[in-house]
Symmetry: C2
């Protein structure tokens, strides 16, 4: 099958163009796309180079490229619009109706979306990330006091990446507590966790998937064995249920989805909106 | 000034709706918006509840809300479109032209964008994140061999969050090497770094900003003093220059921008596209 090339063109990082592009492309199952991000297209020269590249790719592929654009500047959009690709113009589609509604002209400035518009926001984000990293090293009650949420689950149920993602994306302070044999044997939760019962959220996972993940890390170990995974998941789910802690099965979830579900379920306030 | 409410409505996580919304809203300087994310609106009941909430908010604010929608299902979009808000419909704007170009009907399935469409991709992402976390703990040459890129800079120049972001967002293996007094005194780079000179990328920062960041962490310390920050930045920049290592001033950059600039400059392949 011929493979079509998709360009994400931006005068800034390209993150918005990539995000919108992926959301649309996933709606076309079975098609294969070659994806190329062209960030920092911030001069007319670069825009013209982009057009040459799109056109050459179209000729080589024998298929018209698709161009997702988040170019803000009118002059740059004008240049890239004239390529032979299908030009999907994010700002043209939405900026005009928004201007009319708000009765304000947009500033049309480049690079507002992911620039460091606000040093306080940058600091908040880094602080939350550092919190997640520090809190990941050990269960310290001072971390739990400061946390917005405390994730509980067995090893490799997705706690750490979720905590880091929530910090980076939303500035949320997320700590975690790894359930281990001690907890399973005592069949209760440590007192310092019970103090913060309103912050607790459980992550669970199907034993087969856990076995697969752990096997990549420590193949052939008792830790990775299906029997051990089954035991831990069963006991962990029972423990969480008995303490009335909400839990989410992460087996089929992306990190984004786990994070969104937690924030939604616990009604956590986003500290930043990148 | 009256504050307008903006809703991000999605049948999935809402990440795409938030991303596109923020990109647009940052084009309107000086206006203040109250931002509300409504994820997982996946049934007609929830869609109708969303409409009631939008309409009630419009009445309370005395201003028509703005609704950024990434609802995929036609029936749900049909419901939310009838609210009193300004309905900005992501899929309506772009899906039709894309279907025509690709000559394929979209699957219109919900939740493809940030579901775990692909377990291999999930694994790649987690592996890259674990790599960044492990590599952050210490400078180990085996990490450098596996890395796609090695970031070099003084403490608090942005290395760690950038490595983690590149792992999460792009599946890129990013290690880092913190420049310390040892390096400044020897005035050269360790041999194990020189072996991987093609992977090296320097992060620098303005001394005043570094002083500010370090002061939040260790107020009044020698480490945080402006004199020490000036010394480290000057020496680090000289060292990087002498070894021909490209460097980026991160002072005005968001994490997204630092990551995109590095990937662009070093022509690093994205291992995944979330």
């Amino acid at each position: 099958m011929a493979r079509r090339t998709v360009f994400f063109v931006s005068d800034q990082t390209g993150v918005t163009a990539e995000t919108m592009g992926h959301s649309l492309l996933t709606q076309f199952e079975g098609l294969e796309f070659r994806q190329v991000t062209l960030p920092f297209i911030s001069t007319v020269d670069k825009a013209e180079e982009t057009v040459r590249r799109i056109n050459a790719t179209g000729l080589a592929d024998g298929l018209r490229p698709v161009v997702f654009s988040t170019l803000v500047r009118e002059d740059l959009r004008g240049v890239v619009r004239r390529s032979n690709g299908l030009f999907l113009d994010f700002f043209a589609a939405f900026l005009r109706p928004l201007e009319e509604e708000l009765q304000v002209k947009s500033t049309m400035r480049q690079g507002r979306a992911h620039g460091i518009a606000n040093a306080d926001m940058y600091t908040a984000r880094i602080a939350a990330t550092n919190f997640a990293l520090a809190a990941d090293d050990g269960a310290v009650s001072s971390n739990y006091a400061k946390a917005d949420v405390i994730l509980i689950g067995v090893s490799r149920s997705g706690k750490t990446p979720t905590c880091i993602y929530m910090a980076m994306q939303y500035g949320v302070y997320a700590a975690n507590y790894p359930l281990t044999d001690d907890d399973f044997e005592s069949d209760k939760l440590p007192a310092m966790l019970q103090t913060h019962s309103d912050k607790l959220f459980g992550l669970t996972i199907r034993p087969e998937r856990l076995h697969q993940i752990r096997s990549e890390r420590k193949p052939g170990s008792r830790y990775a064995s299906l029997a051990q995974c089954e035991y831990e998941v069963r006991t962990s789910e029972g423990l969480l249920r008995r303490f009335g802690i909400p839990q989410l099965d992460t087996t089929e979830c992306s990190i984004e989805e786990i994070a969104s579900r937690i924030i939604d379920a616990k009604d956590i306030e986003r500290r930043l909106r990148p």
